[in-house]
Symmetry: C2
Subunit: 111 residues, 2 copies
């Protein structure tokens, strides 16, 4: 679970903001320009560009300049390592709860 740690830092940090998750959800419905996103989120172009840059750095979206318009679309990152990390956490937590339950059963049996 330690592999890809720097990259997990970037992706989890990118996901830790409601507007950035909103941008990804918006791009899930199709490509959008920086101006479209600024209008959608009622935010300045500078503010949106900052969020887009963090998402792009984390590999969660790509941008392409066509003429004077910068268009954004999802990908290429598929969040598979992130998903695997969370699954492993859930597995660990379930095991800890099983241990606790077994301990409580054992304690009860000894009363």
């Amino acid at each position: 679970m330690v592999q890809c740690s720097v990259s997990l830092d970037d992706s989890f940090a990118a996901l830790s903001d409601q507007t950035r998750r909103g941008i990804l959800e918006r791009l899930g419905r199709g490509e959008a320009s920086i101006s479209d996103l600024a209008a959608n989120f009622e935010m300045s172009l500078t503010g949106i560009k900052k969020h887009v840059s963090i998402l792009e750095h984390a590999g969660l979206l790509t941008t392409e300049k066509v003429g004077r318009v910068r268009s954004c679309k999802l990908g290429p990152r598929r969040l598979q390592d992130e998903s695997a990390w969370i699954n492993a956490y859930q597995q660990m937590l379930a095991e800890r709860l099983d241990h606790l339950e077994a301990f409580l059963e054992h304690t009860k049996g000894n009363e």
Copy 2:
């Protein structure tokens, strides 16, 4: 996907640090005191306490003071909302790729 957004901010931010993920992985093998964690991660007590506090705030671990020792264990948060968000993202990304593929097929057919 907008529900629980503040709480998703906290949990994704808590997960965006290699040491904090390491602390959760360590607690997956059993409870540990702050001093144990400081020794494991070769970090000052102050540094570890800061990480533990962020994880506790996000509901990823709980602490309990027994005598002079503060013990940490996993939970109660199960990261189900986080898992659901990532699954939805993966679904959206797959749909975008399907659209792209269909578009390319269509373009190819018109050549």
